[in-house]
Amino acid sequence: MQASCHEIFCSPRIFCIDNQHGSVFHVFMRRDRSPISTGAHGFEAWNARPSRGILVAAAALLLSLLTTGCLSPLAKHAAAFSAATATVIDGSEDAYRAAMQLRLQEQAAASVYAYDKNPQWSPYKDPVPLLTPDQLNARIKVLDALKAYADTLVDLTSGKPSKDLEANAQAVGTNLQGLNQSLATNLSTAVPNLPVMSTANANAASTAVLALAEYLISRKVKAALPKVAQDMNTTVTTLCELLNSDITILRRQADVDYQTLIEEENQSIQHEGTAVSPYERRLEIGNLLVLAAQQKANDDMLAKLQTALHTLAMTHQALAAAAQGNNPESIAQKIAELQAAGKDLGNYYKVLQGTNQFTPTN
């Protein structure tokens, strides 16, 4: 592949594939035919002997098997790790946003009571957010970087050739076929009945190039991945611990915000007397139930998120070990736990979304 044009055209190894197989297709051993026809002869022989095509296809298949065999278990783990990581990270980002939204909601409700009691109350005094935009961004950036890391692991271990690689490999076969066809046309008078390379053989050439490139890629990934995963392991563990610490704070703050919201609304109901209609009163009391259900679902979801974060750290550790060929049983178990944690988390989001409304019956 890397040979220069000079080597290709000037070296007697021009069709060394024939040489190595002991056939007498070598340019300098077949002076009774022109170099061009000898050049074409390589393909002629290829065409004439189906075993050559079969050999190429077999070699390609073997290379493919080697390639996929090297990476497929790791690829599966990386894909499962990435999917579960995405769920956990999306969950974490949603948790931050939900906590901030809740805080604003609580501050809006608190303003209603402050309006009567605090003479300095003003709508121009900004409510204090739980996290400033910069603080939230610092978290989102790190989380997104971790997601990008997990996605890249999938790309590297998937063993799927890129579209570019497939196109390039296909071009090899097409060019080989094109070469043979043009020779057959151009030299039809000089060399009658020059056979044209079959599509099957052109495809076999493409497959061989593709398999070789895949093999090289697989070797590159296998050599590099253990170090990358190992380097990242401490960072992932630290990040998960840090997120856990954040979630502990968010859980506590959500508990305070929900309780305050509920009690402030309850105080309002108790003190408003007959100022509201019975229907409005039922709506207000119903809203207390909605808030209490949201509080419980939110806390359960954050607890699940903490479990998932712990499992994520453990799974990455197992993935790093698996990349080095250690303890394959452990990674399978951890992946299953992480997937279960991710699924659990997804279910709680649905529960949370279903606790937003209360419709009083008349």
């Binding site: 790190v142 570019d164 043009s182 151009n186 190039v209 990358v228 990242m232 704070i249």
Partner: protein, 116 residues
């Protein structure tokens, strides 16, 4: 039996201690009948809620600094993954080079005059 230790002294995490008091007052609030006592509990809870919110905001601010420290580490690993991806792109390009070389051979060979 000595004097019971304050929850704040038992638990080194002040936020956790305040939360315990806050939650206990929450139970008391719903147990109390409507009236001045209930209002008083609500006011006390609100005062503790303000302290807790401040402590939580401080905790999140401290964590932000740690998050910022982690970012370069993750970015460095992602950069090394990018290097691997670039190397893989080179392998892909080499397959493309093969296609180009073969195409060039094809063109040159088609110009060769047949040798007699």
């Amino acid at each position: 039996m000595g004097t019971p230790t304050s929850p704040v002294l038992q638990n080194p995490d002040p936020a956790a201690s305040y939360q315990a008091v806050y939650d206990a007052l929450g139970i008391a609030y719903w147990d109390a009948p409507a009236g001045p006592n209930k209002d008083l509990i609500a006011q006390s809870q609100k005062a503790i809620a303000d302290i807790l919110t401040q402590l939580d905001a401080q905790g999140l601010t401290s964590n932000t600094a740690l998050f910022l420290q982690l970012a370069p580490k993750i970015n460095a690993v992602n950069a090394s993954l990018k290097t691997i991806q670039d190397q893989i792109a080179n392998i892909t390009k080499d397959a493309g080079t093969a296609a180009t070389v073969i195409s060039a051979i094809s063109k040159v060979l088609s110009l060769f005059p047949p040798l007699v």
